[in-house]
């Protein structure tokens, strides 16, 4: 609640302090997208000035992805939402804040970028962790995010489940596998950054399972000699969905601008900015150019294995679901 008010307050302050001449847009986004959108907004503003001759000012509101979705639902006047979990936009669609067919409004199911789940191990990979199978071995300590409190954690769980299914395993085998995996988890982090802190600063765990973007940035920040990035044989496609907030643009008359803003995310320039921030670009040429960052691995989508993320949420993460059973059924 406190967070909402703060975000709303920040947004109002930002909006009220603007000059009347430039058009403005508010982008409600998730926490770790801060740096990417800072660069992207500058690129878009330049592009917009060049093509239309008009100035545009983009404001950002960042927070946990679903906290942001709740804030927008409760009245935060964002023009666009750029999230890291499709369920967050689905929720806004269910309450009528974004269009019901939002996935069809932009290419690639309205996800200009994706990510995947990778591993980070201690320097030199002393426990020899190569693939998902190694995470369930006795004595391995795995750091992941609590799927109940973070999209990062949901993706890690689904990636592990999907790994078993992709190798021809049954649902029962997958359930057994993730159950063993979470038995190896000494601390469940609240969110993605929290998990990184626990692994790096607190020095807990042998392996951290997190988004590729986080793995790459940690690898860059802490440099060689402290951690190793490990690519498992199979992992999941985590989409970063975007949508126009119909409620706001109807009120502010910013519909066209909002659409252009999101469209430009698919341009080669924007895809390249995304790649620099370790978000997997959709553009094959950019992906190829950055193949050193985005090592090829076998990827599967949520829809392939689970029908949809909404279905996965219902079966696995809602109260009494598969994830709860790991801890409550002995």
């Amino acid at each position: 609640m406190k967070k909402h008010t703060l975000i709303a307050l920040a947004a109002t302050l930002a909006l009220s302090g603007l000059s009347a001449s430039a058009q403005t847009l508010l982008n409600a986004s998730y926490d770790v997208a801060r740096e990417f959108y800072k660069d992207y907004n500058a690129a878009f503003a330049a592009h917009y000035k060049k093509t239309t001759g008009k100035d545009v000012k983009i404001d950002q509101a960042h927070g946990g992805s679903s906290a942001q979705a709740r804030a927008v639902n409760d009245g935060l006047d964002a023009d666009v939402v750029t999230m890291n979990t499709t369920t967050d936009v689905d929720f806004l669609a269910s309450t009528g804040v974004v269009a019901k067919d939002w996935t069809k409004r932009f290419p690639h199911s309205a996800s200009p970028t994706t990510s995947t789940m990778l591993f980070l191990t201690r320097n030199g990979n002393p426990k020899g962790i190569k693939d998902w199978d190694d995470l369930v071995k006795p004595g391995i300590k795995v750091i992941v995010v609590n799927p109940k409190t973070g999209g990062n954690g949901r993706m890690a769980y689904l990636a592990a489940w999907g790994y078993v299914k992709k190798k021809g395993g049954s649902d029962a085998e997958a359930a057994d596998f993730v159950s063993k995996l979470y038995k190896n988890v000494p601390v469940l982090a609240k969110g993605g950054r929290d998990a990184t802190t626990i692994f790096l600063q607190r020095n807990i765990g042998d392996v951290l399972v997190t988004f590729e973007s986080e793995v790459v940035s940690v690898d860059r920040e802490f440099g060689v000699g402290k951690v190793d990035a490990i690519h498992p044989s199979i992992s999941i496609v985590a989409e970063n969905p975007v949508a126009v907030v119909e409620r706001t643009v109807a009120k502010k008359g910013t519909g066209t601008l909002a659409k252009e803003y999101l469209d430009y995310l698919y341009s080669e320039e924007a895809q390249e900015i995304a790649a620099k921030h370790a978000l997997r670009p959709r553009s094959p040429t950019v992906l190829k150019k950055y193949s050193k960052t985005f090592k090829p691995l076998q990827l599967f989508t949520v829809n392939e294995v689970f029908g949809s993320l909404a279905d996965a949420q219902k079966v696995h993460f809602n109260d009494g679901g598969q994830f709860d059973k790991i801890y409550t059924v002995k």
Binding site: L188, A189, D319
Partner: protein, 287 residues
């Protein structure tokens, strides 16, 4: 002076009150409480009422939720009890002794009030984790203070301390030292002086401090979340369960759990208030 007061006998009227009449003040009190406390809380109740009874019951009695009540209320109780003992000691030292740097120590007590709770949580975790300043010496001894319920208790002790000290301190300042001296002269042992003379006069304040520290601990989120480890059934506090439910857009389920906490806390505070009244009356009669 005295001649003057005799010369002008006080009129036999009720003395003029500083504040306006009872009706107005009561009206304002009710209005203000409604605005600040009751309206937000009623929103909570209304949201919860969108659930059927069965849904409500399922939401508030799930195994993970039940485990979180045990942890939240248990850890808060332990933390508040520890704070009563050590908070009293701190207050005692601050009131009864003069020493160099007392003002600084006095100000230090309030720090947990002012510090953002997340900062407290992160610092405590950094200290107590297996590789932390303190944790590294405790780990070989098999003592783990972070990422388990112990950590929750420690965080709650930290944030609750000022409540006890600041409620007991003024009362201790008001109790007369002479009473203790008189007790000693009359042959009381040190324990008797404490239990028969000092304790009764500060007990109500201690109880208030306990209630406040306890209530604060039940609602605490920011500091606990970093040190708890958040393992289902083991170290998940109830506020985390509420956040978890919000993450799955289960607004009604989240408010249902919040409502249960609210009712629990209200009943507890009510009992403590009643205890206080009873205690005051009893000590009032005996003296």
């Amino acid at each position: 002076m005295s001649a003057l007061s005799i010369a002008a006998p006080a009129p036999r009227r009720a003395p003029a009150k500083v504040l306006p009449g009872f009706n107005l003040t009561l009206g304002f009190t009710l209005f203000y409480l409604c605005l600040i406390v009751l309206i937000p809380l009623s929103a909570l109740v209304f949201k919860t009422f969108t659930l059927t009874w069965d849904q409500f019951w399922a939401a508030v009695t799930g195994p993970r939720v039940m485990a979180s009540y045990r942890l939240t209320f248990g850890a808060s109780l332990i933390a508040a009890l520890v704070n009563v003992v050590f908070g009293l000691l701190v207050a005692w030292v601050l009131v009864r002794y003069d020493f160099f740097g007392k003002k600084v120590v006095d100000a230090l007590v309030d720090l947990p009030f002012a510090l953002p709770t997340a900062v407290a949580g992160i610092s405590l975790t950094a200290l107590l984790a297996g590789n932390g300043w303190i944790g590294q010496y405790l780990e070989p001894l098999g003592i783990d203070l972070a990422f388990n319920p112990n950590g929750v208790v420690i965080a709650l002790i930290f944030i609750g301390l000022p409540f006890v000290v600041r409620t007991v301190q003024p009362v201790l300042e008001d109790t007369e030292k002479e009473l203790e001296e008189a007790a000693t002269c009359l042959g009381a042992t040190r324990w008797q002086t404490f239990s028969r003379v000092i304790f009764p006069s500060i007990a109500p304040a201690l109880l208030t401090g306990f209630a406040m520290a306890f209530a604060r601990a039940i609602g605490e989120y920011g500091s606990v979340i970093f040190i708890a480890g958040n393992m289902p059934m083991v170290s998940e506090i109830t506020p985390l369960i509420i956040i978890g439910k919000l993450e799955q857009y289960d607004y009604a389920g989240a408010t249902a759990v919040a409502l249960v906490m609210l009712v629990f806390s209200f009943v507890l505070l009510l009992v403590i208030n009643a205890l206080q009244t009873w205690q005051r009356r009893r000590s009032g009669v005996s003296s």
